[in-house]
């Protein structure tokens, strides 16, 4: 039987966690609010938008801190391991052309009818003049790297 990890016998988080703890707590509160928000008047696909958006914001926050060397590698790993940031999304951000990717479903080509990415991946320059887009997956308004 594996050992039961309760709050008591857990390892303490790495150094520097208490600095960002408040912000992370705010994000998790926001996430809870978004989860419990009423869905009436919303379209079916709209319901998940805030979830994706908050997840993106939180991941971006941690990633920015890490790339600017504001948090240690240990803390970054700890945050990834404990689900504060989305490691898969960050993995995409490391690739050229995906630096601003909004969410993972938006690049799942196999899930669309014409094997194409989401509309929000199209650069603004390629869209017709004055066309505003908002993708169905996460409500993104455009996340091409060239924008």
């Amino acid at each position: 039987m594996p050992p039961i990890r309760s709050a008591r016998n857990r390892k303490p988080p790495p150094e520097g966690f208490e600095d960002i703890e408040d912000t992370l707590l705010e994000f998790s509160n926001k996430m809870k609010d978004a989860e419990n928000a009423p869905h009436d008047g919303k379209k079916r696909h709209e319901m998940l938008w805030p979830i994706f958006q908050i997840r993106h914001q939180r991941t971006r926050y941690i990633w920015d801190l890490y790339t600017k060397d504001s948090i240690s590698k240990q803390l970054y790993d700890y945050l990834l391991k404990n689900g504060y940031a989305d490691a898969m999304l960050i993995a995409k951000w490391k690739k050229t052309g995906y630096e601003k990717l909004c969410c993972l479903p938006c690049i799942q080509t196999k899930e669309t009818n014409f094997n194409a990415t989401c509309i929000c991946r199209v650069p603004k320059a390629r869209l017709t003049e004055g066309q505003t887009v908002q993708c169905v997956n996460c409500g993104c308004r455009g996340c091409a790297s060239s924008d």
């Binding site: 709050a7 008591r8 016998n9 857990r10 390892k11 303490p12 988080p13 520097g16 600095d19 960002i20 408040d22 912000t23 705010e26 914001q57 926050y61 920015d64 801190l65 600017k68 060397d69 504001s70």
Partner: protein, 576 residues
Amino acid sequence: MLKSTHRPQNVGQSPPPLPPGWTEHKAPTGHSYYYNAELKKSTYTRPTVQTESTPAEPAFGSPWQSYPPGIPVQAGSPFGPFQQQYGDGFHRAEPAIGFQSGFTRPRDGRGHHDRARHQPQDRPKSKHAIPDCSPWLLVRTKLKRRFVYNSETNESYWRIPEDVMKGVVEFDRIEREKKEARERGEDVSETLKDTKQTEVARTEEQDGSEAAEDVESDEYEEVEVTDEEDDLNENPTKRQKTEEEQVDQPVDFNEDDIAYQLAAMGQEYGLDPGEYGDGEGQEWEEGAEGLPLTEEDSAALFKDLLSDHNLNPFSTWDKIIDEGRIIDDDRYTVLPNMKARRAVWDEWAQDKIRDIRAKKEKEVKKDPRIPYFTLLEKYATPKLYWQEFKRKYKKESEMRDLKLSDKDREKWYREYISRLKLSSSTLKSDLSVLLKSLPLSELNRSSQLENLPSALLSDLRFVSVSPSVRDELISAYISTLPAAPEPTDLSEEDQTVKSKEAEERKRREKALQARAKKVEEDKRRQQKELDYGKDRLREEEEQIQQAMKFGKQGLLSHLETAPEHGTEIANGNTQA
């Protein structure tokens, strides 16, 4: 928004009484002005009781202050932009003369004074309960606007909240049905209706307004009362005024005027032209960009702002902006746009975090055992087993600290309890042994009881002696010690760096002040020009009107009564 929106209602009313100490006088030009002998101040604006201490307050405050709490005067009210646009800067320039009753303005005194005359004199007229939204009331005002008012929480909104909206729609439907029923009833008593001309006029007016409301799609949004609306459905006596009134109509604004006003507004908000302009660089007034602040200076100023507000560098930019504390600061405007601000914020946060980390590395880590030991000292007794103690004080932060393991806690607890059972003499001797083991750099003659070294504090031999005995022992021991050895000092360099930074900062602040002064001057000058231009425009308009009128009459009289030509022209002259 560029037009004036209101006509005053208080022309026929008598003005409110003056506060004590103020007297009214007539100037040679016919203006009345007010003088306070005690304060030795004179002003054109009529001082009211509320504004007694500050009679030069912008005239906008006063009409709203007499309002019941029901009238919302807040952002999002239709007056939000109005007040902002013609806010204090506008009225500080010259005293407004709009509030005097029966005051006939000299012809050339038009211009921007009309703004003051157009002040809204709105008042709640009737209130209705909204069905199914019990604390909310729908209040109609004199100017046919309406807002909702919550009698329980004393809240009122121009923009009707969504949950109340249904009730309002329902209410409107009921009203319409009632009105239709009433009209049907009035059809029967047709004869009565003929006699009462006034009532017909009233119902017609209502019909008109109702129709207008029905046509408007944004009926439930904020209702901006413009001059046109005034003319349509305000009291009809207004419309009987002749050409004089016509002149008061806002002149058509051409593009230049709009650009001009935009620039003035932008200056009032303290924006740079780059922020509101349309990218036509050559049209910006001189000096707006070329002020003595360089790019680095403005970035540094913004950083000063960030440091002054004690912002958390680990926070997010969105949150900082949402809080809005920094937006009120003058230095917020030194950077032209949000992108630049964000870049500076990122840079600042990075630097700050680096500083914090460096500082943390330098400073001695506080031993987590110390607070736990103080907890033990406070609560631990030989009567409690560890399990009981743990259960009893599990809510204490010391018991939940993740840096200590439960095993250690238990060990220390047991040790502490066992030490409590020892005789006091052994405890004392243990403590003296501990004291002697400490090096001179940590414990010396200059050390105080309040800040003893952590090596001492985090030792059970220290904790287990009762505080009164312990303090005596330690102070006696400290007095026997020699002075501390000379610490090696590095602070010379630090001090020079610090003084340099402070100097730099002073210089930047000075530059900002100079810039603010210049902007203020420019603003004033531009305001003056604007006023002058408007006066000119209005005068010309008037002249044209006059000329046209005169020409028509002259022609008519010429056709009809040729011999009386001369007198007619004279009449026309006097009329005009």
